[in-house]
C-alpha cells in the first residue's frame, strides 16, 4: 500500500485528474499481487454504480440543476435576501441554513453539497463573495446532512455495530445544532473581518416579508414535501432523490410555468458533466480501498492505538484522526462499513458509549469528504463552481476549524450527544 500511496501523491502533483490518479495508483496494488484476478479493479468500479445508497448523488445533482430552471431557486434567493439581507454575510448564512433544512432529507453529504453549489453557487459569486469562500461554505454546510436524521451513515453504523438506530437518530440533533452554530459563527467572523456588507440597509417590513414568503412558498415546501414523502413511506432514503427531481419538474412546469423544453434540456445537459465528474471519482476510488482492506490497514492501526493509549478520549481522538485521514481517500459510506466493526469493539473495550462514539465517528468520516487531497464533496463543489482547490482550501480553514472544534467538544462532552437519546429512550 505504501507504493500505492506514493504513486497517488506523485500523480496528483503531476496535475492528473484526481479520479484517474486514484484509479491508476490503486491499480498498482494489483500488479504487486499477481495472484489476484487482473479484472478486480474494473469489477469493483462497476459495482460502485450498483450500490443503491449512492443513487442519491446523481438524483440530487439533477434536482439542483432542474430547480435552477424551474423558478424555485430564484424565489428561494429572493426570500433569503429579504430575510437575511440585513445580516453580515447573508447568503452564506442562508446556504448553511439550507443545508440544515435539506439535512433531514438527503442522507448524502456529497449529494447535498453538489445540489447546493448548483443552486446557490453562481448567485453567491455574483453578489461579491470570493469564489473560494463561496465554495467552501457551500461544501462545509453539507457536514450537517449525515448528522441530522435520517442518515444512511447512522443506519449503516447501527446495523453493523448493533447499536440502536433510534438512539443514533435522536443523538444527532444536538451535535447538528452545534455544527450549525459553529459554522455560522465562522462565516460571520470572516464576513465581519473582511467587511462583507449586508446587501440591505434595513430589516424587511412585514409586508415585504409576507410577499417574499408567499412567493417562495413552493421552494420552502420542497424539503417539507420530501420529508413527507419519507415519513409517509412512499420513498425510502435511497429513493427520495427521484422524488426531488419530479418535484422540481412539477413546480417548474405546472406551478411557476417557467420551465420550457429548452430549459429542461439545458438542466439535463448541465447535469451530465456534474454527475460524470462526481460519480467517476466515487466509482474509481473503490480500486484504492480494495488494497487498504486486503492489507488490513485498519486492524493494524487499531492495534497500534491500543498500544499508545488506554484512555478513552485519547483513543477516540486517534480514531477520529485516522478516520479523517483515510477519509481523504474513501467515501464516508464505505468507511463506515469498513471501520465500524474494527473500531467499535476497541471503544467498547475502553468503556465508551457506542451511540456517543457513533456520532463522533460518522462526523469524522464525513469531514474527510470536504478536505484535500481527496474529498468527494469538495471535488463536486469545486468542479461545479470551477473553483481551484487552492482557493477552496485557503478559504475553508476557519470552517474546518469550526467543525474540528465541535468534534473535539463532542469527544470530551458525551452528554451533548447522549442527552436527547437518554431523555427519549431512558
Amino acid at each position: 500500500m505504501l507504493i500505492v500511496a506514493i504513486a497517488f501523491i506523485v500523480l496528483l502533483l503531476m496535475g492528473m485528474p484526481v479520479a484517474f490518479a486514484i484509479a491508476i495508483s490503486g491499480t498498482l496494488f494489483f500488479i504487486q499481487h499477481p495472484e489476484l484476478p487482473f479484472t478486480i479493479p474494473v469489477q469493483v468500479t462497476v459495482s460502485q454504480t450498483q450500490n443503491f445508497a449512492l443513487l442519491a448523488v446523481p438524483l440530487f445533482i439533477m434536482a439542483g440543476n432542474l430547480m435552477n430552471r424551474s423558478g424555485i431557486t430564484e424565489r428561494l434567493l429572493e426570500l433569503a435576501s429579504v430575510l437575511t439581507g440585513r445580516l453580515t454575510g447573508g447568503l452564506a448564512q442562508v446556504s448553511i441554513a439550507l443545508s440544515a433544512l435539506m439535512g433531514g432529507v438527503s442522507g448524502s453529504a456529497i449529494a447535498d453539497a453538489a445540489m447546493q453549489s448548483r443552486i446557490l453557487g453562481d448567485e453567491m459569486v455574483k453578489r461579491g463573495f470570493p469564489l473560494g469562500f463561496a465554495a467552501s461554505v457551500l461544501s462545509y454546510g453539507a457536514v450537517l446532512t449525515p448528522i441530522i436524521p435520517p442518515g444512511i451513515g447512522m443506519i449503516l453504523y447501527g446495523t453493523i455495530g448493533q447499536v440502536s438506530i433510534g438512539r443514533l437518530f435522536a443523538a444527532g440533533f444536538v451535535p447538528a445544532f452545534l455544527l450549525w452554530l459553529s459554522l455560522s459563527v465562522a462565516v460571520w467572523l470572516t464576513a465581519k473581518r473582511r467587511g462583507y456588507m449586508p446587501e440591505r440597509e434595513q430589516w424587511p417590513t412585514g409586508r415585504e416579508a409576507i410577499r417574499a414568503f408567499t412567493g417562495g412558498i413552493w421552494a420552502i415546501l420542497f424539503p417539507v414535501f420530501l420529508l413527507l414523502g419519507l415519513r409517509m413511506g412512499v420513498f425510502t432514503p435511497s429513493e427520495i432523490g427521484a422524488f426531488a427531481v419530479v418535484y422540481a419538474i412539477f413546480i417548474g412546469v405546472l406551478i411557476y410555468r417557467k420551465m420550457k423544453v429548452r430549459g429542461f434540456l439545458e438542466a439535463m445537459e448541465g447535469s451530465l458533466g456534474d454527475v460524470g465528474s462526481v460519480m467517476f471519482l466515487i466509482a474509481l476510488s473503490a480500486i484504492f480501498s480494495y488494497g487498504i482492506v486486503l492489507d488490513r490497514v485498519p486492524e493494524v492501526v487499531s492495534g497500534w492505538i491500543l498500544g499508545v493509549t488506554g484512555n478513552l478520549q485519547g483513543a477516540m481522538i486517534l480514531v477520529a484522526l485516522f478516520v479523517l485521514v483515510i477519509g481523504f481517500f474513501i467515501d464516508a459510506t464505505v468507511l463506515i462499513i469498513m471501520l465500524t466493526p474494527i473500531f467499535l469493539p476497541l471503544i467498547r473495550q475502553l468503556g465508551g458509549d457506542p451511540v456517543h462514539f457513533g456520532i463522533v465517528f460518522i462526523l469524522a468520516a464525513t469531514i474527510g469528504n470536504f478536505t484535500p487531497p481527496v474529498g468527494a464533496a469538495m471535488y463536486a463543489v469545486c468542479s461545479i463552481m470551477k473553483c481551484p482547490i487552492g482557493a477552496y482550501t485557503r478559504e475553508s480553514v476557519p470552517l474546518f476549524a469550526a467543525v474540528a472544534l465541535v468534534t473535539l467538544f463532542l469527544i470530551f462532552v458525551p452528554g451533548a450527544v447522549l442527552l436527547l437519546p437518554n431523555l427519549i429512550f431512558g
Partner: protein
C-alpha cells in the same frame, strides 16, 4: 470525420441523459407502486443498471469538458515547457490505463456472462459490465483527441488540411 464525431457526441449526451431520466422514472414509479401495494421489484434493478451506463457516459462528458478535478499546486509553479511535458505524460498514462480498463472490462464481460443480473436468470450482468467498456472506449477517444489538440497547439502536428495545402 468531424461530423461523425459531432454525431457521436450528440448521441452520447442523449443516451446519458436518457439513462439518468430513466433512473428517476423507475425509482419514482417503484416507490408509488409499492405504496399502492403493488411492488414492482424490477424497477430497482433496472435503475441501477441505467445508473452504471449513465455514470460512465457522463464521465466522458466531464472529461471532454475538462470538468474532472485536478490539483495544480505544482504544475502552476513549473516553467511552461515542464508543465506541458507533464500534461503529455498524464495523457499517456491515462491512455494506458484506459486500454487496460477496456481490455479487462471486455474480458470480464465475456467470462462472467453466466452471472445473472440481480438473480434474474435470463439477464446477464455482462450488460452492466459492458458499460465500463463503452465508457472506457469513449474516454480513450477523448484522451486521444486531447493529445491531438495539444500536439497541434504546440505545432508538433500538422493537421491534414495543411498537408493538403
Amino acid at each position: 470525420m468531424g461530423t461523425i464525431y459531432a454525431l457521436l457526441k450528440r448521441l452520447e449526451a442523449v443516451l446519458a441523459g436518457t439513462f439518468l431520466l430513466l433512473m428517476v422514472v423507475l425509482i419514482f414509479t417503484g416507490g408509488v407502486a409499492r405504496m399502492l401495494g403493488h411492488p414492482l421489484n424490477w424497477t430497482i434493478d433496472l435503475s441501477t443498471a441505467s445508473f452504471a451506463w449513465g455514470a460512465f457516459l457522463c464521465a466522458d462528458v466531464a472529461w471532454r469538458n475538462n470538468a474532472l478535478m485536478s490539483i495544480d499546486v505544482l504544475t502552476a509553479r513549473l516553467p511552461a515547457r515542464a508543465a506541458r511535458a507533464l500534461t503529455y505524460a498524464n495523457y499517456l498514462i491515462i491512455a494506458g490505463f484506459l486500454v487496460y480498463v477496456i481490455y479487462a472490462g471486455t474480458w470480464l464481460s465475456w467470462t462472467s456472462r453466466a452471472r445473472a443480473f440481480q438473480g434474474i436468470p435470463s439477464v446477464s450482468y455482462s450488460w452492466v459490465t459492458a458499460s465500463i467498456v463503452v465508457g472506457g472506449l469513449l474516454l480513450l477517444l477523448t484522451t486521444l483527441i486531447k493529445v491531438h489538440a495539444a500536439l497541434k497547439e504546440d505545432g508538433l502536428f500538422r493537421s491534414s488540411s495543411t498537408v493538403a495545402r
